[in-house]
């Protein structure tokens, strides 16, 4: 069973991928906090509406396989936008570095709690599936 075929799971996976990638970009900013002229970057925010649309359109356009000879559709799980954009912090140092460690720490912690939230929601949804699959009273 492909959990990604269930829109809810596909969206949660998109959110988790987005947050992990964001964490990587923030790690990059913190690592380069002492490099002259370095400008911090960040991902475009995760958009629920966009995800929802791409999940719905991938569902609407799916072709059903009626014979074993039919080829499967390419992986149509929605992909969150993982492009990074310049996101300068509030101060610029004399050496031209735009990274403010405190602001990056805040971003990192918000990425972490976003991730924890997505994971616990994933667990919740899994336990719902499990409940549906278990025999009543069993």
């Amino acid at each position: 069973m492909d959990l990604n075929a269930i829109p809810l799971f596909a969206m949660l996976k998109g959110k988790m991928t987005h947050t992990a990638e964001r964490q990587r970009v923030i790690a990059q900013n913190i690592a380069n906090a002492d490099v002259p002229d370095y400008a911090p970057r960040d991902l475009k925010p995760f958009s629920f509406d966009q995800q929802l649309k791409s999940v719905q359109s991938s569902q609407a356009l799916a072709v059903s396989q009626t014979s074993p000879g039919h080829m499967a559709m390419p992986d149509s799980a929605p992909q969150a936008s993982l492009d990074s954009v310049d996101a300068p912090d509030s101060e610029v140092r004399l050496d031209g570095n735009h990274v403010v460690l405190e602001e990056q720490m805040v971003k990192m912690n918000s990425a972490q709690s976003d991730y924890a939230a997505a994971v616990s929601y994933y667990e919740q949804s899994l336990s719902l599936l499990k409940m549906a699959a278990t025999k009543p009273g069993g």
Partner: protein
């Protein structure tokens, strides 16, 4: 196929680790400066120890992403100061000895900054680990 989520997690740790290494190297340069703060000229007219400054530049790391590396040291070109010490082997006719251009206060500030940067990167690794643990938690259910 590598999952983007796992490769991002590995890259995050690699980036933070590269920064830990770079800050460690910077600490070494600072230690050299402090250790040699009193290494004055040994021959009359000779030069004393010259302060070194670390050079940081962005570097690609394994797994994708930009880490950082200390790519070298540059000699600090600020002038040496002189000290009256006629007994020293490096003293000139007037009894003046050239002393290194190291200011202990600057070195202390630099050291504290390196320490903060090191802590910040350690935080990144810890954060990443807790995210990985969250993911592993799904399996336990």
């Amino acid at each position: 196929m590598t999952d983007p989520a796992t490769s991002a997690s590995a890259a995050t740790s690699a980036i933070a680790a590269s920064a830990l290494k770079a800050q460690q190297a910077r600490m070494r340069v600072i230690a050299e400066n402090i250790a040699n703060a009193d290494s004055g000229a040994v021959t009359p007219g000779g030069d004393p120890y010259r302060r070194q400054t670390p050079l940081f530049s962005p570097t690609k790391v394994e797994g994708g992403g930009t880490g950082v590396a200390m790519t070298g040291v540059r000699p600090d070109q600020t002038p040496f100061h002189t000290e009256y010490n006629p007994g020293a082997p490096g003293a000139d006719a007037k009894g003046m000895v050239k002393m290194p251009n190291v200011d202990p206060l600057t070195e202390m500030m630099d050291m504290r900054e390196a320490q903060r940067a090191y802590q910040a990167n350690l935080n990144v690794i810890e954060n990443q680990r807790s995210m990985d643990n969250n993911t592993l938690g799904i399996i336990k259910k």
